[in-house]
């Protein structure tokens, strides 16, 4: 249990007012908005709202905003502007998306929840005055705990090991059947479960696929995984989509165009490219002044040779591209432009929707979690660690995450739930 810096003595002596801090809901899904309110403080009084999160790796993340109470002694974070801190302006969720590693943390940190079945636990506190540092040494006026869940109650997590496929299937509550999603993460490899857990919380049977354990994964692996999903008794076999991030997007595009087995009803490609990664020119790696790796040039210029990129002119299902215009890791905006050109030429551009976000970076994730402009990256199968520059600026990137997630869910619902057979 945390030991509090004692402020009780001074409080009792001065008969200090006791403010009320409330957060609703106190247990929410990661993509649910919350309402943070302070009441019973003096009017026109400066306060600092602070958020604290301990990651599973033991790192500390924090965010804060400076407020002044209104004439009633209240602060309503959803309506009142932050006057400074890690975010400013009227930002209902700023205390979450502007979380950054606490001073003194290891460099290159990226916040990712490995265990999707337990919540993120965020401590929200109120401090006297406008503070910007030394929070751990200051007395707190009030504090509450907030839980943020990737899994809604009733979502079931099932280990998948059949037919040589390794993955985790998340099933929504209810009898189903449900539309299915194959969720393909990026080149970091491993089994990243939080996004499919959240997708299942929105009604999609979602399969997180571990596909980078071997250096050269065969196409059949993806087809086997697709079949496993299709054949599940609670999945609608002809209502399956693909969701990819980064390298996973490339896989999604390639499989959809060239595979006879994988016939998704729709595809979402976040921060992806149709350009084949093999043959990328490593010597085009660049470094910025902080020695962070910029890999976006490796696939450039966009090849005109059709054998060097996925022929998206042959796509037969709706495609949603999510693009961060400040992506420093992959040439996502250029790829999106080229895909549009190819599809216009082939006559299937009516299938294409592009969401393009200025000043957003590569890692466009579910909303209200911290942004990472540069972070430690280790490609699957390699032991070498880099600090990769992902790109993006905190506020625009966070807005992009919020908007893209909502539109992604709408897109998936429209194509997998609502469309007629």
């Amino acid at each position: 249990m945390k030991t509090w810096v004692s402020n009780r003595q001074s409080t009792m002596e001065t008969n200090l007012w006791r403010l009320l801090l409330s957060v609703q809901p106190s247990r929410g899904l990661v993509d649910e908005k919350f309402s943070v309110r302070v009441q019973n403080a003096p009017p026109a009084h400066p306060l600092t709202m602070h958020a604290l999160l301990h990651s599973e790796d033991g790192d500390t993340w924090e965010a804060f905003g400076h407020y002044v109470t209104d004439s009633g002694g209240d602060v309503n974070v959803s309506e009142d502007p932050s006057l400074g801190g890690t975010y400013d302006g009227v930002e209902p969720m700023g205390l979450l998306w502007s979380l950054r590693p606490a001073p003194g943390s290891r460099p290159g940190l990226r916040f990712r929840k490995r265990d999707a079945q337990t919540p993120m636990q965020v401590r929200l506190s109120v401090y006297q005055g406008h503070q910007s540092e030394g929070f751990m040494d200051r007395a707190v006026l009030a504090s509450v705990m907030v839980e943020r869940w990737y899994m809604a109650p009733g979502v079931r997590r099932v280990n998948i090991t059949e037919g040589g496929v390794t993955g985790t299937l998340f099933l929504p509550p209810g009898p189903g059947p449900f539309p299915g999603l194959m969720d393909l993460w990026g080149g970091g490899g491993g089994l990243v479960e939080y996004r499919p857990a959240l997708l299942a919380s929105h009604g999609f049977a979602s399969l997180a696929l571990d596909y980078l354990k071997q250096a050269d994964v065969k196409n059949e692996y993806f087809e086997d995984a697709y079949r496993v999903l299709q054949q599940h008794p609670q999945v609608c076999k002809n209502r399956i989509g693909l969701v990819g991030l980064s390298f996973g997007s490339s896989v999604a595009l390639k499989m959809s165009v060239y595979s006879n087995v994988i016939q998704p009803r729709c595809i979402v490609c976040v921060s992806g490219s149709h350009i084949h990664a093999a043959g990328s020119r490593l010597k085009k790696t660049r470094y910025n002044e902080e020695n962070q790796v910029i890999w976006r040039d490796l696939l450039l210029p966009v090849p005109t040779d059709l054998s060097k990129k996925v022929d998206v002119g042959r796509l037969q299902c709706p495609l949603l591209l999510v693009v961060g215009e400040d992506d420093q890791n992959w040439p996502v905006p250029e790829s999106a432009d080229d895909m549009r050109e190819m599809m216009e030429g082939a006559g299937n551009s009516h299938l294409l929707t592009v969401l393009s976000y200025p000043r957003a970076g590569h890692l466009i994730e579910p909303p209200y979690s911290p942004h990472c402009r540069a972070g430690t990256f280790m490609a699957a199968g390699s032991r070498k660690k880099f600090i990769a520059l992902w790109g993006g600026e905190v506020a625009p990137h966070s807005r992009a995450q919020e908007d893209a997630w909502r539109k992604t869910l709408d897109f998936l619902r429209e194509n997998l739930y609502c469309s007629a057979d």
Binding site: H45, Q117, M151, P153, G154
Partner: protein, 470 residues
């Protein structure tokens, strides 16, 4: 879907949060199978937000992706800790866009009617075939109430359970907010449970006492702590406590002191909250204790008609002496409200309300069949007017509400089983109240109780107090 498979689904769905393995065997490959036509047709999307809420938080239940003007039944199902099933349902018709929004659309029938955002919870009743006289209470407050909300095709009140639902969602309802601590109290003979809000404090405190059913009922205290009050749920009637024969108020004063002395409690901001017999104890302490002074009191469904300075067991036994006034109605339910009527004019037979020195909130239902609380409240007002302290009194009277005015959105029951502690006799007691007005009373009174407690127990900023430096 039989109750058995509903239960397994419910249990499995809930356990997903804590263990993985059980649900693999219960569902998925060998579990509930959808009807074959479902695979070809669009399925509706059911959402409940927030997915995990506090018991007194409203939720939003919505259905999308239905055909337009499609009749559906929204159904809620809960299995209590006693293993009984409770359910509620409402009939809806989707709009032109194929949507049903419970907080905006009217239920056309079922266990509740009209626009009732929380009807699926407060109108719950035991499912057909259940044991009689049931009462829904959560004894383990560290786990949530889990409610399964489902949508069924058409409008039915039975038989629709034989078909699989169109969609289901699970929601949790918690008495404890994250970070609230629960601590067993066994101190100086006092038995209870203390709940401490998250944060450094210090906080105001509340001594919380339930009614004559005895035992240690924690949920209201847990919820009060979730709203910023250190709250002690006090066990004062179980045999192990043996306070019932104590003529003095020492036990309650000790309990009050435990709260006051807690390092995270503001000493001069401790109040008392009681229901039924607990309310009578509250008035007794507030009026007669020489060592404790509550800052304010909340008395729910209570009365001042009890002789002061008599032991609790005397008071309880005394009540049963008036057997000629205790009715049994045509359904064999005990109706106790007449026991204290007419309200006595003999000052020795009731507490001297002129001695009350702190703000007092009375919460009563005028359909209370267990105690004549409205009449008591009128007499209390009369006594306080005569004594010149009526300005301390606020009375909330709820039309058609019964005796058990609890935190909101939990089911109402007009009668339930009750064990008369000292006789160890089980009877069926008529509490009174009509479901919808009682549910409204619970919702409204809870907000007012919280406001009242905040107003009197949370120190307010004043322009004359200089800002303290920390």
């Amino acid at each position: 879907m039989s109750w058995r498979s509903c239960f397994y689904f419910l249990r499995a769905a809930h356990k997903t949060l804590y263990t993985l393995q059980e649900q693999l065997g219960l569902l998925g490959r060998s579990g509930i199978r959808p009807s074959s036509t479902m695979a070809q047709t669009v399925t509706p999307i059911l959402s409940v937000l927030p997915t995990r809420g506090l018991v007194d938080e409203k939720f939003k239940v919505a259905l999308e992706n239905l055909p337009p003007r499609f009749p559906v039944t929204l159904h809620s199902l809960h299995q209590s800790e006693d293993k009984d099933y409770w359910e509620a349902f409402g009939y809806y018709v989707s709009d032109d866009r194929g949507r049903v929004t419970v907080s905006e659309d009217a239920s056309l029938g079922g266990t509740y009617k009209g626009v009732e955002p929380m009807g699926l919870l407060w109108s719950m009743h035991p499912v057909p075939g259940s044991r009689t006289g049931l009462r829904l209470r959560k004894m383990d407050v560290q786990s949530p109430m889990v409610v399964l909300i489902s949508a069924y095709k058409g409008h039915a009140f039975e038989g629709f359970r034989e078909q699989p639902p169109l969609a289901s969602a699970l929601t949790e309802r918690w008495y404890m907010a994250p970070g609230v601590q629960r601590i067993d109290i066994r101190e100086g003979g006092v038995i209870g449970t203390i709940f401490i809000p998250p944060g450094p404090g210090p906080f105001p405190g509340v001594l919380d006492m339930w009614g004559g059913g005895g035992g240690l009922v924690e949920y209201r205290s847990a919820l009060l702590a979730s709203h910023g009050f250190v709250s002690l749920a006090l066990d004062y009637l179980s045999p192990k406590v043996a306070v019932a024969d104590d003529q003095s108020l020492v036990y309650f004063e000790k309990a009050f002191n435990i709260i006051q002395q807690h390092p995270q409690v503001i000493k001069d901001r401790v109040g008392i909250c009681g229901l039924c017999l607990g309310a009578s104890v509250t008035l007794n302490v507030a009026a007669y204790s020489e060592s404790v002074s509550p800052r304010c009191c909340v008395c729910i469904s209570g009365s001042h008609v009890l002789p002061a300075a008599k032991s609790l067991s005397y008071v309880i036994n005394d009540g049963y002496k008036h057997m000629d006034k205790l009715l049994v109605d045509e359904q064999n339910r005990m109706v106790w409200r007449h026991a204290i009527l007419p309200i006595t004019t003999n000052p020795d037979e009731k507490l001297d309300m002129g001695r009350i020195k702190c703000p007092l909130l009375l919460v009563n239902g005028d359909d209370d069949q267990s105690k004549a609380t409205v009449e008591s409240a009128e007499d209390i007002a009369k006594m306080m007017r005569a004594a010149g302290n009526e300005h301390l009194l606020t009375t909330l009277n709820y039309h058609d509400a019964g005796h058990l005015i609890e935190p909101p959105y939990t089911p109402h029951f007009r009668a339930s089983n009750f064990i008369i502690q000292h006789l160890q006799q089980k009877v069926l007691v008529l509490w009174g109240g009509k479901t919808k007005p009682h549910a409204d009373a619970q919702e409204d009174s809870w907000q007012k109780i919280l406001s009242f407690l905040r107003e009197h127990l949370y120190p307010c900023p004043s322009s004359s107090i200089p800002q303290a430096k920390l």
